[in-house]
Structures are given as C-alpha cells and as structure tokens.
Assembly symmetry: C2
Homo-oligomer: 359 residues x 2
Amino acid sequence: MSNASDGMNFAPKGKPAPVVTAGEFRFAAMHLDHGHISGQCNGLIEAGGTLTKVYDPDPAKVAGFVKSYPQVQAVADPREILEDPTIRLVAAAAVPCDRGPLGCRVMRHGKDYFTDKTPFTSLVQLAEAKRVVAETGRKYMVYYSERLHVECAIAAGDLVEQGRIGRVVQVIGTGPHRHGPAGCRPAWFYEKAKYGGILCDIGSHQLEQFLFYTGNTEATIQASKVANYRFPQHPELEDFGDVTVIGGNGASGYHRVDWLNPNGLRSWGDGRLILLGTEGYIELRKYIDVTTDNGGEQLILVDQQGEHRMNCAGKTGYPYFGRLIRDCLDRSETAMTQAHAFKAAELCLQAQAVAVRLA
Amino acid sequence: MSNASDGMNFAPKGKPAPVVTAGEFRFAAMHLDHGHISGQCNGLIEAGGTLTKVYDPDPAKVAGFVKSYPQVQAVADPREILEDPTIRLVAAAAVPCDRGPLGCRVMRHGKDYFTDKTPFTSLVQLAEAKRVVAETGRKYMVYYSERLHVECAIAAGDLVEQGRIGRVVQVIGTGPHRHGPAGCRPAWFYEKAKYGGILCDIGSHQLEQFLFYTGNTEATIQASKVANYRFPQHPELEDFGDVTVIGGNGASGYHRVDWLNPNGLRSWGDGRLILLGTEGYIELRKYIDVTTDNGGEQLILVDQQGEHRMNCAGKTGYPYFGRLIRDCLDRSETAMTQAHAFKAAELCLQAQAVAVRLA
C-alpha cells in the first residue's frame, strides 16, 4: 500500500509481471479526479503497459501526475489521446457521473476503457454503455480495486476455486472508509448527483465481490438502506449504506459500507470479507489486522481440518492487470467478463435506487 | 466456558456475586431438553439463588442433572414444584414449542418463569404469554445467553453506555453454531414445528442484542432469509438464516446465524458482534479469537484515539442473574424489562415468518 491511512489514494504496488514487451500495449490516462487513477496506472505498468499520454482540464492535477510518471506526455486537448491510433486503452477516474459518458466517447474512438469504480451513476448510463459496447466491440472495464488490488482477496478466490470451503453460500463484506479531515475532499464528493450515493459508489466494490465469490451471473437486491448519521453539514453525503442480495444460484450476500472510520485506526478502513462455505469459512482482514502488528493482507481460513492463517502480502501479485492487457490485445475475457462488470454496476445502482433512508 | 467446542452445553461459570442469603430465593428446574438449563441454574446459584427441586419426564435427564447439582430434590410430579409456595421462580429449557405454554402454567401458579431462548415458536404463544403476564403480574424472563452470559458482551454494553463509540448506528451479529456429529441432537432439533426455524431459535439471541445495543424499544424487520444448504437428510432443518432490522431510532442491524461451523474450529462457533458507532466501533470475538491463543471474550475497541484490546475473561461476571433475583423479589425491572424480552421474541418470530427460502 502506498499510504495505509488514506483510502482515497490507495494504490498498491504489485509484483511486476509483464505480459507484453515495452511499447506493445500503449495506454493513456484521462481525468484524474479520483486518486485511484494511480492504482489503475501502476497495475497496467507493472503488467508491461506503456503509459504514454495524460489529459486533465486541471493543470495542477496533470503536474502532480507527471511528477509520479515522468515518462508521460501531458496533452492539452483530449483529442490528442482519443485520436492517437497507437493508444489501445484509456484509463480514467473522472467524477463518477462523468464516467459513463466518457467511456462511450472513448469506445467510439475505437479504444478500450478502464474506469475507476463506480462505473456509472444511473441505469440510463449503463444502458448506453451496453449499447456502445455492442456497437463498437470495445471493452468497458472497471477498477473494482477492493478485490482486484488486494492480495488476500486474490488468494481467497484461488481457495474458493480449489473448493477449500465447499460451496460458498454467503458473503459478508464490510467496507468502512475514512472521510479524512474537513476540506480534504473535492466538492463532487458531497453532491449526490455527481457521486451517485454511497451504495452506487463504494458499494460497487461489494456487489462485484458478491458476484465473484459466489459465482453468480444473476442476482436480485432483497433490501438496502442508506443514512447520513454524522455529516449534517453535508446533507447529500450518505455516510452509511447496506444491502442484502440474493444470487441466482441460491447464495446470498450482505454488504455494509460507511464513511465513519474512526481516526484512531491506523488504516483508512478495516475492510473485511467473510466467505461462508458449506465446508469452512474464510475471513479477510484486508488493510489492517486491528490491534495486531501483522499488517493487512491477512487471510484466515477455517475448514474441517483446522484454523489457518496466511499473510498474503507479496504472495499473489495482482493478476488482473496482465490479463486485462492480454484481453485487450487478444479480444478475450480472462480478466473479467463484460457481463460481470456490468452486472455489478447494475446491482449497485439498483441497491441505491431501492434504499430505505434511515437518517 | 464449560466446554468450548460444544455450544449445546455452553454454560459459563461466572464470578459468584450473591444478592441474597442462602434460602432467601428458592427456585426449581423443569424440563431439561436443552443443555442451557445448566447455564441458567449456574447463573442463579452464583447470584445466591437456592436450587431446590427438579422435574423432567425423562429419568435419565433428571439423573444427569442431580449429578451436577447434588443439592437438588428430584420430584416425580411437576405439581410438586408448581404448588410449592416456597419456590419463587421456575427455570426451564423445554422443547421450544413447549416453552410458551409451560411459562403460562408456571405464571398461573404465581411463580416467575425463566426460560431458555427462544421463548416462543409462534406469535399466538407470545400473545398468550403477554395476557398471562398482565393477569398474574408474574415475569416471563428469557435466557438470551449470547449476551447475558458473555463477559465481553457485558463490557461492550458498559462502553456503549459510557458513550465511548458515540451513537451506535448499526450492529452486525454473526452466530455460527456447530451441529456436531450425526446423532448428537434430539429429534425435535430437526422438526420445524418444534424448534421454530433458525431465525426463531438461535436468531432470537441476535435480535435481543440488536435492541439492547442500539437502545431500541421498537423495530421492524426489513428482510430475512433461510436455507438448508448442507443437511438434505433433515429437510426441516434450516442451517442458514439472516435478517436485517430497522430500529425506531434510525439505527439498524444485520444478523446471520448458521449450523455450518467447521470441525476445524476449536470452538463451537466463531460468534462475533460488531457495533458501529459515530465515534468508533467495537468488535467482540466471543468464544474464540480465531488463529490466536488469546481465548474468547476478546473486545476490540477502535475510537478516535486509537485501537484497544480488552481480554474480558473474568472481568465483569454476569450481572444479569443477581439483578433477575432482585427483580423477582423487589418486583423491579433492572435485569431486563418484560417489554424488551417480548420485543426480541416478536422480532425473531416476524423475521422467521417473512423469510425468503433460498435452498
């Protein structure tokens, strides 16, 4: 982790595992509104991608980005990226409400798109993106970082695939997030039309994980809630959200997200995931193992034989990024299917839409 | 804990704290169908209660009980307890479907009643018990052991009362339970009309904790689910249940229970409770701190100042039992109000009634 106490700029450095030679997969970065753009670029670069250009309307954001990635060329006009035939993919972390339209524009220019989560703030945007994907054959991929960029989450996927806990019948995911000191967040963070609501935004990680670990392609929101308990000065901020979801295969999920992470925690959030299987369970303590000095990336497995702990830091790397690059080049779907990325987006939007407001 | 690997006979030994002199509070035990009867009796004895008589139709159960409590007189007819004017209270752990009618019979004999959870298997039984309480002025008290007989749960209540985590806005409770080897459970365990369903049964602990820690007197079930994933040979057993509940004060809860605890765990269940407050959170690892040798009774508190761990074993004792004895003598409600005991029962019955069946 680049900075354990600051989720906003969470950008893990994985084990480099290039899947292409230098210059073989050229990509650009556009719209740097969320710090996740660094995690997206790091993942692609470590997998062999070549970051060539960057665009943002704000020169200060571009200057900061260029400092981190001195190899990149800053461009003043987005068309210098969109119309550059050597660029295969555009990575972007725009304001959430702009991510869908930007992605459609990128795909209509013949490039694949890799956006920060949440990928959309409305079902209309999702429908439009589905249409453009069908029309152009391009990819609308999503940085669901809380699984893709967490080694214990990768390891858990491997254990589930090996059948170590039998059939996964339920997932509980909790994603507490630190708000940070007053003034640290941009204006859009507090405007619901821009960030989409807490279940749409950070809830998207959760619904992606539900689908992935239970192996579902279809699911229904059973119930959801949102609230603003602690930030009356920001009436459009939701600092609490939860959702329970039923998968087509009979497994279910419960997911809670919040912006209430207390200052006394050494991490930006005590994110957990618990996979309940018919033959055991797995708990992930992703970013911290609270009250110990074990660090994050802790996987706890209890099966019919015993209790097992794995410190996954440095163990798995982040295979998503290399697979994504190969998928773009080979037109395959090994990293994540388009249907999966879109279904997670649909579920988080549906959860947001039906949420009961508690406070 | 008497036996860490066996929840069925979970019977903590607390710090004795007598609130009466010997013989001042005489009670009896009737119907020993669930091993919880020992926890109920231990709690009362440690608080100064005098166990005088026991009745069960099964002589083998009585013999086992008398071995544990040699001071007790076994009686062959329940009327020898019900019509004994020196007995103040009857503790009982009947088959769940019989608990309500038994309690009404006890109260109509002028005695207070202390039943194992779950207190009822139908809303009709609850309504009848409410009527008899009103008519007789007697108490229908419930052994919600997963809070009342767990020291870290007592400590958490104290911390919440002191405001250490601000306002409690959400509770997550998980109660995995070990089924145990084939043949270890009585026949009623597998008959839904007798045990009431998983949310009615072990879910009752959870809804009691929700009301207690959030300070709610009213609440509504938002959604619930049940399933039988692993025991097709027992079609009426539910091995999974969950519920999400919204309190009158705007706090909410999510609770999951199951019979899927893997054999490799050293405890009968990795029961957890997470209290999310506006100024911090508390996690309880009640019966085991998995992959460590810390033992159970672990309380983890994270507030605005830091991360704190308390090993609560031996620290708080179990104040419920002494308060219950005083309440019976003083006709007060310091241990638990009747309304609270009944509301938790109502919620678990409602959760059971509206549950979606997943498998």
